[in-house]
Symmetry: D3
Subunit: 332 residues, 6 copies
């Protein structure tokens, strides 16, 4: 289950991103010659879609001793309950203690992103959802965000690195910038068609200069059968995308004989807004979702020691001893 794509970065391995008190603890214990085998259980605050397990395993594979360690985990992408043990590590404290910060962080962020993506996918029913979150978060985690979105059942994402992690083809048509630089939507789309390889679908962004329905007909009139679809991402200042706009554009395209042209929408979509479109029976072919997934607050993980040298123990508020969870399976 270890994925070589998740090679841990050096600062993580040496503990530069760990809470400094963990480094201090290791120093103290070393001086006191204390290094028992402990069992640490990791569990989330809220329910969700577990994500980040392979990345954690890639880290543990670097640091745990080959013998005497055991790791159990849920399956990547499964749903998890609030407070359910999702990962259990049994290892010498000296080998694993330093990575509590990183493990909690990877799981907290990835699980939150995958859960948010799954909510969108479920709201969209069988209509595909593409993850557009990269521009909303720091580039250091853009690929992790895209990977988690795919685990949350999005069909594609926009960064090359994220798509590689998740094993999919990245998606993306054209930015407003291209239309502005070509100074015309139809000319921009003709250039796109001229220079892009055959396998890249021709999808035109139609809200830059003119009325969306008018521009959709303009582009379709030129690219005809080669046009795979249009994307509408109207600014809020101009009313945003609405079910009515999608229906009218669909209607005008169909009347003009362009019923093969698909409609992709983006711009502030949330599960709630997707459901509004579905309930209004807006004829959307693809939803693009960015900020909702990127804005999902981390689903923080607790790391609790439940055994020391197989003796049950726990801090106040926790019940000593291993917490039974038949859904865990051994992964290391």
């Amino acid at each position: 289950m270890v994925n070589s794509e998740f090679e841990p970065r050096r600062p993580v391995l040496v503990g530069d991103t760990a809470d400094v008190f963990l480094q201090r603890t290791l120093t103290i214990l070393r001086n006191e010659s204390i290094n028992p085998v402990v069992t640490i259980e990791f569990s989330p605050y809220r329910s969700g879609v577990i994500c980040g397990i392979p990345e954690v395993l890639a880290l543990l594979a670097k640091v745990l001793p080959e013998t005497g360690s055991e790791v159990w985990a849920l399956e990547e992408g499964e749903t998890v309950e609030a407070k359910e043990v999702s990962l259990r590590v049994k290892a010498p404290y000296g080998s694993v203690g330093l990575y509590e910060t990183a493990i909690c962080g990877i799981l907290a962020a990835s699980t939150a992103w995958a859960t948010a993506a799954r909510e969108c996918v479920e709201a969209a029913n069988s209509t595909p959802v593409i993850a557009l979150g990269a521009r909303h978060l720091h580039p250091n985690v853009a690929a992790n965000l895209d990977y988690a979105s795919i685990i949350g059942s999005c069909v594609s994402c926009t960064t090359i690195q994220g798509a590689r992690l998740a094993g999919v083809t990245p998606a993306g048509n054209m930015p407003h910038a291209l239309v502005l630089l070509m100074n015309d939507t139809v000319r921009a789309m003709e250039a796109f068609d001229r220079h892009m390889p055959q396998e890249v679908p021709r999808i035109a962004l139609v809200d830059t200069f003119k009325d969306e329905a008018e521009e959709a007909l303009n582009v379709a009139g030129v690219l005809k059968e080669r046009l795979r679809g249009i994307r509408i991402s109207t600014t809020l200042e101009r009313g945003g995308v609405s079910p009515d706009l999608v229906k009218e554009t669909r209607g005008r395209l169909n009347q003009a004989g362009f019923s093969h042209v698909e409609i992709m929408v983006s711009g502030g979509f949330t599960p709630e807004k997707i459901r509004q479109f579905m309930n209004a029976e807006a004829p959307v072919n693809v939803f693009g979702v960015g900020s909702y997934i990127a804005s999902s607050p981390p689903n923080s993980f607790e790391a609790d020691i439940h055994e020391i040298e197989s003796r049950p123990i726990a801090k106040r508020g926790r019940i000593p001893g291993i917490t039974s969870n038949p859904r865990l399976h051994r992964v290391m």
Copy 2:
């Protein structure tokens, strides 16, 4: 204003974390021999504390041509209004276009974190706040999160890398793990005292095994004047930290002659919860805040082209031409 600590990572520089449609756009424009000088303005959705400018400049310094480019920006840590232009880049589109995703992402995340930190600091009035967010977010951005917390006026943070970026000393006392492994709070504190350098303050975590007030007296009775403070981070299952608990602990410490011992609290603190403690006049000496800062949804940035070769232009919903903002100053 370029900070060498913010060396951009390779995948960012080659565009692996960019939206793939930007790479496609560059290909098309190159084939069409189009590469005008454009003016791009970046502005946030919400008001807040601007953060991430030095990191963006470190990136631009690598990619913009030395002559003919201009960059204006707000000062790191200033407050910014919703939709206020915070960064303006004038450069050949072929040099800057690919980095729209990364620039928006750095600013969106950093600004959100710094803003959340500032809210906590303002709620705490003159009581210092320490950032504990690292374990709630992916380790790839733990240092960026800590840096932004300091920009948001926290006095310290917990990761070595984050403290280095921000130019402060990292903070951190002891985890529950140390107490559990030493099997006793007093023994754990004695070991801490034995092995830690003189400059590390002695702060005991007192909620692991016993009643917090009882344990505070136990520890103080042993370390006496050497004890700098105690930390209370009681689990929610045991009622969490409350103003009443802080007051009682303070009262019992004072009655026993330990009025020099400071009280640090942590665990689910938000500006609202900090204000409740301040209003209740709870005698807190330090607040620790983690998940609130890490959970702040990104304050997404819009990147809009407002000029092409000095000619005003804009997509629908924006007003063509440079947006006046006298608070911007030239940084490159």
Copy 3:
């Protein structure tokens, strides 16, 4: 104070629009030879802008005996408090009793409309408001509605009959129908300009076929200085009119040198929506308000007998005798 424009219609005079029990009452009293002089007081349920007094006087002038009757009233257009006596009629019951239904009805409807208009005018501060309510109510009262809107301080209205009652010039530019029939906004505006007298202001409706800002520039580019203004009345399906749309259109018109072109907006405006536009500093020159005024629920009037032959009397729930109100003045 009697206005000849308010000639009462025949069915009202013969009592065909009265509650039938009033006719029955008159029959009974005649048979019993009872016809005392009564004092009836009319007062509204809610506060508002009193309207309809001249129309009521035109009716009473037809039916009251020349001697022995007295009528007091508030000034048309004044504000009135809830339950404040607004009209007091002292006359033989046999002459006035039948008209209770009509008097209450005229005052209830007119006062409600004038009040709603006044709310819009106050929200708009010094920006003029035009009444567009005619198409929302039955044509039998379209003129009364328009008259009341002017009493409520609108600057103009759309029906010829209403404008005549109120003594103003009717306002109105072009419907979507004209644009659709000319098949082009610019051509429609050129025809308008060709055939309308000089004193009719040239105001173009710009949301029929194309993007509003684009079309505004098209029309201004052709009519130039002769263009007085544009009207935006975008359908809700296309996002409606918004402060941002007005600002952007204003910005693009100004950049193109058409700062003399005014902007009129219409479509679902209420005092609340007007205030949103004012607070957002949207550069609106004229507000058009229709359904809000027409939808105002009637401010029903109570008609209570307080004296019979100068003897105080009243039904349960009312206090016998004339209700003092120094704001009333004698009008007949």
Copy 4:
């Protein structure tokens, strides 16, 4: 389907109640020699009970050319959905264009009134409802209001003209004025009984001077079997009508042997208040409803051109071409 009772008034026919821009449009088109056959569709904003169709047809019968015009409509009194096409007119624009204001106005007002009446009737289950709205609206539309109330399933109304339009007998017993002028409820009722024809039911208003239950017994004791019912319309200042008051009056009447006397209630009844009485099992025989029906805000109608000379067309926000609606049937 044309009803001769709905003779259109002259100002409507000559366009004095039309929006003035329609008259201007006709002038322009005449000068441009443009007069195509158009298809206009009328549809309401909200769902409801369609009303006003016969009145619109009476108008169209006066103005449309005998050949070449077509009119389809829903059945008067049917329920209609929001945005459902309720009326479709195909005619030369020059013949129909001027009447857009009047047609929308008739349908908007009448449909709103009929819908409000129907809500009351449905709340009252099988207890009959009488429309008392005349005094709450302008006398120019009192008859139209009463007609619409009957279309909305009220059993009767109070104006002679309204009852004639709807083909029912008007209802009405006695006003407070009669009691006040006779100075005694029993004497008023005796006079009523003396002078009214046999077919007018004897219904006494019992809340003018004394306790309602006491007065009901007084009147019943005198009129005995000839008393058909009593009406309670207590002012709000005296607590209004309540289920408890009806029950107690019923109980005291029955104990005194007057179980044949019906109880009618009126005064501020709404569907909600009717339901409260029904849920409380108040023994009401007739509900009178006035202001609720008269206060119903107009259900405004959109008039949209969907074809010009059989070619599909529409403004932005609408889909070009005829909107399919199998419920429409041809009426002209």
Copy 5:
């Protein structure tokens, strides 16, 4: 400060109304020969008007040893803050421990009642309030309830025993029963006038059989100057008492020359309802309040040991040692 009226009942003295675990505790301590002097502090959960101190002192005077005991308390009727120490008893535990239940109970109930009464009095501004609570609570505490109402600033109460405790004259006019048994309000009032001593004010209850305003005039017409006032306590089934009813009755009384007749109201009055009457400027002369005061939930008191033999101590959640409160003064 000990009031002989508050003679404690025998079951309280022997502990039959105490929590049984207190009796068990005394047995255990006696067997263990433990009987230290303790300091117990009593404090309420909520803020309010302290009441019950004299009754508690009457109890303590019976049970505390003459020497070596100390009691401090707030002044009866003062306002007290939430958690403020209101009573402090220093005595041998064996003498005072058994009475913790009774002391808490007396203070909790009395303070709640006095506080509720004070709220009514403050709402009524300078209009007097009479306590009518007796029939809403068990007769064993009716007098205590009335006493507390007077402490809360009511001017009188209805029970003889309560008035004696509080040192006032009881108030009360006539019940509906008297009117029903005399079968007529005027006859009942005449009998009252005949048989009651001169000093009992003549106040007629006027809502039993007839309209209140009508009956008020009837009674005033007979008793004339001897009538001190009327009381209105209309049932909710008949609309309850309302500001409008009071105003109308006042108006009709004044018009008939009976401006000396006062109006007392009762029936479901709360501070909120009193404020509504005051805001509506209803001419009320006396408010009667019953269930609101009787329904006040007890303001429970905590009894905490803070010293044992002058050594600070406390259970978890309390701060050991005497709690400073300069408002306490020594009473025993």
Copy 6:
């Protein structure tokens, strides 16, 4: 059905706790020689569990004449509807009139308490509930409160007098005072065990000095099989009792081999809080409820005369004559 335990107190019998107007009424009627047999019906404002019937009967048995009186009542502990007649007394007014205040008061208070207790018992499903209300109300009614709690289905109560009235054994373990005076929880429990009779269950209060779970293990370790249970009543300042705390304590007790030790909880329990514990599957063995029952506002009773000498009569708002209720049965 007369219970000798409910001996009425002298002030009640002589009318010192009655509303003084009842005494005045009796004086007047005596002077007028009026003393008819009346039928008075008592009914509550709200639905609930009827309680107080035996106490009322004990009073009536003392005052009603042996012949000619009849009393009907509901069964003690039955549910009663709002306004349902619960008690009907037919007797000479002179014998019963004075006791209206006391009868209403007994029923109002007792019914409210029994109802509140029943709500708790229903929320707790089959887990037993003990009434701890005595310290929240005046000692004069502590026994009545406890009796009513048992009628409301609590299994026990804390006062000796209340338990005697209800025919149960009082419950109660130890107060914080015992622990404080013994200065140690284990020592307090050992003394309890030494001196209490065998039949008193050994239940330790474990929240006075130390962590509850820690202390539970301490006590169980000493008393072993003799320990029946522990009680947790943690102060709110320390987080109160929570489902998590109960679960953890249960878990630690079981792990240490003390699965026989029961857990009782108390402190601010309401039906809502009990339901939260039940829903969270907290392993509670006994709930203690005090302030919720004692805080129940009285369910006031109306006393209405419905017959005088068998003639139907009633005040306004009531229907004359006996109100049929087949659930009543004759008790005297």
